[in-house]
Subunit: 200 residues, 2 copies
């Protein structure tokens, strides 16, 4: 009887299985979908993968992803270059841009300090951030890493490097999320919200 | 302020979004994963997609997927060619092969009759099946389409075409699944299980 295998198909399933969040069943489903695509559809998919990988690199200033020398934010003359918002990930930039309220620049660390996962300060884009601060003209660095243990530790680590240079370092406000429910807020968030209360 | 977009990245996200079961967030996650791959990793992924699409086609006999002229089952001399098991999908063949008990051949329809989805008998590999039966040597056709409304209708349709040719047409047994629980079995399955009871 033997196992029934078609080599190119199982290679494709294996490749899809290596993608994040894709298990064996989903990988099979994706592979069968690919088999059913038109020649142009397959071309579009493979060239999109190849092009994105080849053309996208870090912005020379803020380490965000771009296909040009500088990212659109760093290229934009009307952006306030004296404020730098430090985030973990390019996706955080997209999230902050969605607010349409932030008109300064970003700096993407590409991770957080996490010794257990083998991520030390040297693996992050921290030296690029220090170079920007050293170059002068920066008045404030906003630490916008995630409110997790690693995010906090990274914010703390970077603020200790930057404060001695005479630059203001701030942190995103903690509190109850808008539209949230006090009943379901956890204790830490609630006590941070009380601590940070503002006069009306 | 404007939206923050990198053209090759958004093209890749769009491509991933078109895959089945992949939403916008998952597509973003996959795209960022691709950016982090090595040059070899990207090569392996794109060539696996391209190769699978280029090399895999229908087996000349049973319409299963293969990268050669005949699939391994049809090539295998020790398989009983007088019994054909008709399934909807290549994945059903894999499932049946896992039982390691079936030593005959398959025929893959690549779908079921479903007028609402625009699938008529002409879109399925039914004429290839009839050609096999006409060619002679076939003693039994086992209808192993799924126990859904469309699967049943397709089984019925095909059996009406084949029976006049003097070939035995059978259907997979209905009943309670092994390891299942009577309490949770639906009424139709239970009444089919009673109908089809066997002497011990």
């Amino acid at each position: 009887m033997g196992t029934y295998n078609v080599a190119p198909l199982s290679r494709l399933v294996e490749q899809f299985e290596q993608l994040p969040g894709i298990g064996h069943k989903s990988a099979q489903r994706l592979a069968y979908h690919v088999l059913g695509l038109s020649q142009e559809g397959v071309q579009a998919l493979t060239s999109a993968i190849q092009e994105a990988h080849d053309k996208i690199h870090y912005c020379k200033i803020c380490c965000n992803l771009t296909d040009q020398e500088l990212c659109p934010v760093c290229r934009n003359e009307s952006r306030d270059k004296s404020i730098i918002c430090v985030v973990e990930d390019p996706r955080d930039v997209t999230a902050l841009e969605r607010t349409q309220e932030f008109n300064a620049t970003y700096h993407v660390l590409h991770g957080v300090i996490s010794p257990l996962n083998g991520m030390g300060p040297d693996q992050l884009c921290i030296k690029e951030l220090l170079a920007r601060v050293h170059a002068g003209g920066v008045q404030e660095v906003i630490m916008a890493t995630n409110p997790t243990v690693e995010g906090e530790a990274t914010a703390m680590y970077i603020s200790r490097l930057i404060k001695p240079l005479g630059v203001k370092v701030t942190r995103l406000a903690y509190g109850i999320p808008v539209g949230g429910d006090l009943e379901y807020a956890d204790e830490v968030t609630l006590s941070r919200a009380i601590e940070g209360r503002n006069e009306l």
